[in-house]
Structure formats: structure tokens, C-alpha cells
Subunit: 312 residues, 2 copies
């Protein structure tokens, strides 16, 4: 296997190649789609919704593939359209990879050992029918629930992102509990960093990453210091209220170590006030392009990711 087959290295290379760390979230929501995808009478069937999601995500990918290193389809929205939605999800993953994007599937899966192995095989394995590059997973079930994902990731050059500090307001209910002087999320972080350290690529980061929300900037910096070998997937910028400046602490001094997710702020940019006046609903792809450039520039201006650009 070449060095580049390690997920952390592939991610680092993709980020350097594009000169930015933007992770575009593919979260199709029927009510937010440009009107051209919704022109029909009456309530759409699951099949119609799934077809619209597929076409819409294809259109987003066409715009962002030359601009960003990676995309993150959100499984929930595809699952909401049933088996047809899942077929659309498989198509979207394959299409994005074909267009040269790394695909981090946001499924937040997990289960006990042998069932976790089935999830790992499903999404990251050699015969995976989905073929994602990485998967988000939940830590509550403990170490033996995470190890099947880590094994498959190592075998296959795939990645795993474990929830550590999530971006939602209620995330703290359990994550912020004090456990012997440290918060629970710091305990999870320590375990994830250990997994990252045991799965290092040549770039110094491991195949196991962490989800850490942009909506908690101080904690992001704290986690960056505590997790020097861990790639961060940072959600929360845009619709959830965090800014580019809020994610500055997630990066290492070279501008690596974090990918910054924006979903609605990019894919539904056509309905954002600032773009609505510039682009008609029909020009939704130009709005996606403008919003992507905007986030790239903000991250370059406000975070160490600016150094990627200078180097690229």
C-alpha cells in the first residue's frame, strides 16, 4: 500500500491540493430544494423525493468538486425516503468519489462488537456496497464497539470520526459532565487520541478522527492541544451560527488537522439573504459556488488554513 492509501494522508493531501479545508455537507431537505426540483402537483412520493435528492446532490457535487477536498452526505435525509433514498445515497457517494472528492458519510453508527463489525463492513469494508472513505460513529458503547471500525479503517485506508463534543446546544447534557476533574468529552477525547496515535499515517495524524463542534470555540482549542494526532471534523459553521473565526483553534500551525463542515449555508445558498438578490432560484448552482468561495476565503483569512493556500 502506498502512503497515500492511509486515510489521514489522503485527507491531508486532498486539503493541500485544494488549498482549503472545506467539507460540504450534503443534507438534502425537500422544503429547501430549489423550486426546479419540486415542480409537481400534490405530495411527492418517496421515489420522487429520492430522485430529486440524487439530482440535487449531483448538481452540488458538480460545482464543489473542483473547489473543495471532501463532502459529507448526511444519511438521515436519505433514510427518510426509504430504500429509494438509500439507493440515491449510494449513487451520491459513488458520484462524489468519481469526481475526485473524499466522502465522509455522516451516519453516527455504532453497536456492540459483532454488529459494529457489520456496520464497519457495510460502509468501509472491502465489499462495501456504499464505498465511503470514512464514517462518523458514536462512542457511548465503548472500546469494543469502536475497534471493529478501527480495524476495517486500517485494513482499507478508510477513516472513522468519533463524536467527542457535538455542536448542538444540548450536547453538554452528558458530554460536559464532570468525571473526576475532566469532562466526559475530554475522557472520550483521550480515548480517541489514543486510537489516533495507534493508527498514524506518514502525516502524523491517525485514521481515527473526532467530531468537535465549531459552536464551542474554546473547547475546540483545548481539544486541539489534547489531541495532536487526531483529525477534527468541525460542524456548526453557518446555519448553526459559528463563524470562520470560531474554528481557528481547530487547526495545527500548518493549517492542517481539521475539515470544516458547512451544509445548509452552502447547498441552500440560493435562499440565503445575501445571495437571494444576486442569483435567481434557477441559478442555485452559482449561489452554491459563491457560498463555497466565501467560506474558503473566510477560513483563509481567519484561521491557520490560510497557510495551505500560500503553500499550494
Amino acid at each position: 500500500m502506498s502512503a497515500a492509501s492511509h486515510f489521514a494522508d489522503r485527507l491531508g493531501e486532498a486539503v493541500c491540493r485544494r488549498g482549503n479545508p472545506v467539507l460540504v455537507g450534503l443534507d438534502p431537505r425537500w422544503d429547501c430544494l430549489p423550486l426546479s426540483f419540486r415542480q409537481r402537483h400534490g405530495t411527492p412520493s418517496h421515489m420522487e423525493i429520492a430522485a430529486a435528492y440524487r439530482a440535487f446532490c449531483e448538481g452540488v457535487i458538480d460545482v464543489v468538486a473542483p473547489l473543495v477536498p471532501c463532502v459529507k452526505p448526511q444519511a438521515a435525509f436519505f433514510e427518510d425516503s426509504g430504500p429509494e433514498g438509500m439507493r440515491a445515497l449510494a449513487y451520491v457517494i459513488a458520484y462524489a468519489r468519481q469526481r475526485g472528492l473524499l466522502v465522509i458519510l455522516d451516519g453516527k453508527r455504532n453497536d456492540i462488537g459483532s454488529t459494529a463489525a457489520a456496520y464497519a463492513s457495510a460502509y468501509l469494508g472491502a465489499d462495501s456496497p456504499w464505498g465511503a472513505d470514512a464514517l462518523t460513529v458514536s462512542p457511548y458503547l465503548g472500546d469494543d464497539s469502536l475497534s471493529p471500525f478501527v480495524s476495517v479503517a486500517q485494513e482499507r485506508g478508510a477513516g472513522v470520526f468519533v463524536l467527542v463534543k457535538t455542536s448542538n446546544p444540548g450536547g453538554g447534557l452528558f458530554q460536559d459532565l464532570d468525571v473526576g476533574g475532566l469532562t466526559l468529552y475530554r475522557r472520550v477525547a483521550a480515548f480517541v487520541e489514543q486510537l489516533a496515535g495507534s493508527t498514524l499515517g506518514t502525516c502524523g495524524y491517525g485514521a481515527v478522527g473526532a467530531v468537535a463542534g465549531a459552536t464551542y470555540p474554546a473547547q475546540l482549542s483545548e481539544l486541539r492541544a489534547a489531541m495532536p494526532h487526531t483529525w477534527f471534523l468541525v460542524p456548526g459553521v453557518g446555519a448553526q451560527g459559528a463563524t470562520a473565526r470560531d474554528v481557528a483553534g481547530a487547526f495545527d500551525p500548518a493549517g492542517l488537522g481539521a475539515v470544516v463542515n458547512s451544509s445548509r449555508g452552502i447547498i441552500f445558498a440560493h435562499s440565503r439573504k445575501e445571495f437571494k438578490d444576486r442569483f435567481s432560484d434557477r441559478d442555485w448552482q452559482r449561489a452554491v459556488e459563491a457560498a463555497t468561495h466565501q467560506l474558503i476565503e473566510e477560513l483563509r483569512g481567519e484561521t491557520p488554513a490560510g497557510r495551505l493556500h500560500a503553500a499550494s
Copy 2:
């Protein structure tokens, strides 16, 4: 809405009607299927695997539908066969419900608020393309990630089972951490009990239940005392090593309040030593029937669930 449209009431009625609390897990694994489902040359395609899972689960349902109140399809194994597997999952859920079984889908889903709402809509909503009666969910993301499931469950007479104390050996890594004198799982339990208390049916139990593993019998009893309004989904009997006696503490004095899951021990009974001699591979359904009766009898003999039988 009639009283029976509340999930906790529907579950209680189904348990009383059958006189036992057995929850048969539908966890199809290719290598464990009876040979008749695997007769082909070379490596099976995802489509062939999905078709075998569908036919096998249909065969299991035909046997157990007259015997037990509910089944629990494990999403992971269906996801491992891709979109075709998901189509099989949708079929299996519909078939089980058509045969009068309650269906608890084991997906351990969750995400932040608006994405959690998509999962809730997907699996439990009015237009759900899957149509499960209940779903297992993970608590790590906190209160605002659980509330969309609770809302949909209340609107739709559906149920939610939140992971509290899982059955795997590594579950304690985070769940057993001491949080101000209580374990983390007890903190999660307190929150779940509060949700259960706010979603009560006429039976005295709520629409929000808890997953609590049979492999930790002392903790099961402790949780039963701490969670008087919470239905328990108890995995871990059989292949994971727990016995009927281990789950005695999960029940209330009337024999209600818990459903006891066995997956491999029932559906792959044809390869269990004790049944292998009595039934040929071709008679796998008779092995399923015998294993189901065996667990029913053990639970009647060793737990308060015996009182259901006397009453039914």
C-alpha cells in the same frame, strides 16, 4: 386515539396476549444461514444476500408470529447489503407487522436536532417508508437530540428505546464512569426515566424505554428500581452468555416492564449443539420454534414473567 395506540400500552397488551416477553432479534448473517439459503457457486452478490435475508427473516417470522409479542430487526446486517439490503429490511418490517408483531428497529440512530428529526420522521413518522413501531437511539448527543424522537413517538403511538447500559464487555468504558457519585449510565437512566414519566400510557409506562443489558444482572435490578415508568429492552441472553435468571430483575412484580431479546440463539438455533442432533439443517424452522419455546419456558420459570402466563 384509543388507549391502545400508545406504544407502552400496545407493548404491554402484546406481551400479555402472548403470555411472554420474548423479543426475537432478526440479525441475519450470511455465514450462519441454513444451507438451503446459501446454495450457489462463488461469492454471493449483495442482491443475492439481500434476497436470502428477506426469505430467511420471513421464515423466522412465520414461526415466531404466533408465539411472541415482538421482533427486533438489526439494521446493520441489512445495511451491509447496500440499498438492496435496505429494501429487504423494509419488507421484513412490513411483513412482521402484517403478521401481528410489534417491530422494534435496532438502528441506534441519533444526530443533532433537525437531523434527529429526519431520523424520527424516517423510522417512526406519519409518512415513514419503513414503518417501525419503535427505534433504538443513542444518548450521547443529549436532550435536544432525543426530543424529536419523543415528539414523533407521542404523535404516532410509537416508541423509543435509549441506550442506557449496553450488554457488551466494553460498554463500561464510558457508561460506568463516576459522575458525582453516580455512574454515567445512571445519569442517562435518570434522564430517560424523566422522558418516560412525561409520556405515560394508561399502563403506567412511558413511550420512552431503555436498553439495559442482561449481562449486568445487578445493574438491571438497580435500574428497574430507579426507572419505574420505563420499559426495558434487555439484550444479551443466549449467544452473549446471559441466562433467563439474569434478567429476573428487569421485570416489575406483575411480570411486565421488560422485553427480553435473543437473536442468534433463536434464529440460528439449527446450529446450536442441543438442537443440531434433533433437527436437520432443512428443519431449521422447527429449531427456531423449539428455541423460542425454550426461552419462553425459561423466562416463565425463572422470572416474574411467569405471572403473565398464569394471567393469560
